[in-house]
Amino acid sequence: MILSERLKKIFSAQKPKTKFVAYFVGCHPTYEKSLDIIKASIDNGTSIVEIGYSTSEASAEGPIIKAAQDRVIANKSSLKDVINLAKEVRDYNKDVGIILMGYISNLFMFPIPNFIEEIKKVDIDGVLVVDAPHELKEENTLRENLKKNDIAFIKLVAPTTPNERLKKICDMGSGYIYCLNYSGTTGVKSVDLSQVKKMVEKIKNYTNLPVCSGFGVKTPQNAKEIASTGVEGVIVGTAFVDYIEKNLDDTNLSKNLGKNIKEFTNILN
């Protein structure tokens, strides 16, 4: 098991009890605003930021994140821009965990060895690739290269994942295990708490890695309920992306979203 020192430190800290993980679409709505938003998120108690890079045929995004990604693509912001953005986030804060999250398409074209080189320079803590199961050759290449460079490879598990497969994935993952709260695309369903609880227990049978769960966490109250299932971290994405999309003209967008994020981090403390 590899766990970058920073992620280890984050999860071993006493406070906050449950870590808050915020997902943002990188460069959404623009590069500058995105940077301000992520900074505000860190200032308001976010432990880990997952920064998404965009792909036109992303297969696991609900309509809200899809619209945001389409906006980023229309602005011609690329994975390279998202890595630059991550660099500025790292320059701003040395303690926050930074995860890059997206699809295999962009990494394959980057290509993978150059991608690893770039993110190592920027001091990224981990990578999560939605459509790269361990059956895929490029996943194997990526996993091997990340391991060599002590960068975490965050693996996803779903309610559909059978036990034997779950064990295998837990063995392959590092950093934390991303537990999907439901079978579906981002932000489209509500969470069945008892199901999440069962799943988290199952995951913990197979690994000592921290578990963070996401999808469908819309309100601070939701986050608090999810925290009660025994997860080490709660992930929120769509709710913030939706807020950004609905408040594009707000001149105090990052500040106001920060207040919103504060409500989540307060309740998890």
Binding site: I73, L79, F110, D131, P133, K137, L156, A158, T185
Partner: protein, 400 residues
């Protein structure tokens, strides 16, 4: 059907991980989200199990014959042959299948598979609506509810297929865009409802679909072999087929992959010619050639008139066949396709779908000057009713 494998046969299909070819050159794979991975593995197992079950295969063949009206005729296009002056041109008349295209064979096969897996609902994507209307017919026949997804651009073009599907009881969800957007959207719908059955219409997307669709459609090539031997006492010299995702073409080619003397030629639309102009990438579940941006973030918008071949990417087995040089791939323009439509209508009395006219464009080029005993078989994979409005609008005055 024998499932025995001959060593080194190109017909052996993908490996367990869905790859055609090895190492860096491997095409296909499972580039899918975790929610669907266990579902895809189950489907792969259920498929392998089903094709070993004689009663299942017998049932498929029974309905192929009695419901689809297979085998489709291998028809000697005498007038076109005379007009071009060269090779003997045959049409594999897939347009005479029930529902009017080759799509119905795959729909029948996968609907029977869905029933075998005890699935309660079917999801499909469609480009030209041929797959949607065929799937709607099969699902009506076998009493399964079905929901289709199509791009608005295509819905406007092929209204008759949409009406047909509605009459069969299918529901339709429209998305902005065309076939590309429909596929991405249906994969999301499936992720949200993984208990449903995704009836993929072409030899594309994540494993195991390219293999399943190839298996079902390979009946086209098997019939061509039998019929050509009967009519001509030899195999064809060339087989031509159009392709978007490539189910019609892999169906026509597969039987002949080990008959190296038979040339296999696939024809795409000009703007969506992934195999002629694309680069290797990984999108929509598969590693294959595609028309994409340099950084892999965007699947480019393609604009070919025939909706059924207007697809930015292509099935992974075709990418593999191109790389090893077993099949050749080229493309045709909208204008060439429309000209050829008129020629076929006026010489053979066939109102063809626009898609296979892309293949006939190439057939005409290659037939010219060839000896009279040189045989080209071209798959005529759909009939033209769906395209009449568009053709009238663009070229109506040409026919007056």
């Amino acid at each position: 059907m024998s499932t025995e494998k001959i060593k080194n046969s190109l017909k052996n299909g993908p490996d367990e991980l869905g790859y055609y070819g090895e190492g860096e050159k491997a095409r296909g794979g499972f580039a899918s989200g975790e929610t669907l991975m266990p579902i895809l593995k189950n489907l792969q197992d259920a498929f392998e199990d089903a094709i070993k079950d004689k009663s299942f295969i017998d049932k498929f063949h029974y309905y192929c014959k009695h419901w689809i009206n297979r085998p489709s005729p291998l028809y000697f296009a005498e007038n076109l042959t005379k007009k071009i002056g060269g090779a003997k041109i045959y049409f594999k008349s897939e347009h005479l299948n029930h529902t009017g295209s080759h799509k119905v064979t795959n729909c029948l096969f996968q609907t029977l598979l869905a029933l075998r897996m005890n699935k309660k609902r079917v999801l499909v994507e469609s480009g030209a609506g041929a797959h949607f209307s065929a799937a709607a017919a099969t699902c009506s026949k076998f009493s399964l509810p079905i929901l289709g997804v199509m791009g608005n651009t295509d819905i406007r073009k092929v209204n008759s297929n949409i009406i047909k599907a509605k009459h069969y009881g299918a529901k339709l969800e429209a998305v902005d865009g065309s076939l590309k957007e429909a596929i991405t959207h249906v994969l999301k719908m499936w992720t949200n409802d993984p208990d449903s059955y995704y009836l993929c219409g072409s030899a594309v997307a994540t494993a195991p679909f390219p293999r399943i669709v190839q298996y079902a459609q390979s009946i086209i090539g098997k019939e061509i072999r039998e019929q050509c031997l009967k009519h001509e006492n030899k195999l064809p010299n060339e087989i031509h087929a159009c392709l978007g995702g490539g189910s019609n073409s892999i169906g026509a080619f597969h039987e002949f992959l080990d008959d190296k003397e038979v040339k296999l030629v696939g024809v795409e639309g000009k703007t969506s010619a992934a195999l002629s102009k694309g680069t290797i990438g990984i999108m929509q579940g598969m590693k294959t050639y595609m028309i994409q941006s340099k950084d892999g973030s965007v699947a480019e918008q393609t604009k070919d008139l025939p909706s059924g071949i207007n697809y930015f990417s292509v099935g992974p087995q075709h990418s593999y066949l191109k790389d090893i040089g077993r099949a050749e791939y080229t493309f045709a323009t909208d204008d060439e396709i429309l000209d050829t439509y008129k020629l076929v209508a006026r010489t053979e009395g066939i109102c063809s779908a626009l898609e296979p006219m892309a293949a006939v464009c190439e057939t005409i080029k290659r037939a010219k000057g060839k000896p009279k005993d040189y045989i080209i078989v071209t798959s005529l994979c759909g009939r033209g009713e769906k395209d009449l409005d568009v053709i009238e609008k663009l070229r109506g005055s040409d026919f007056e």
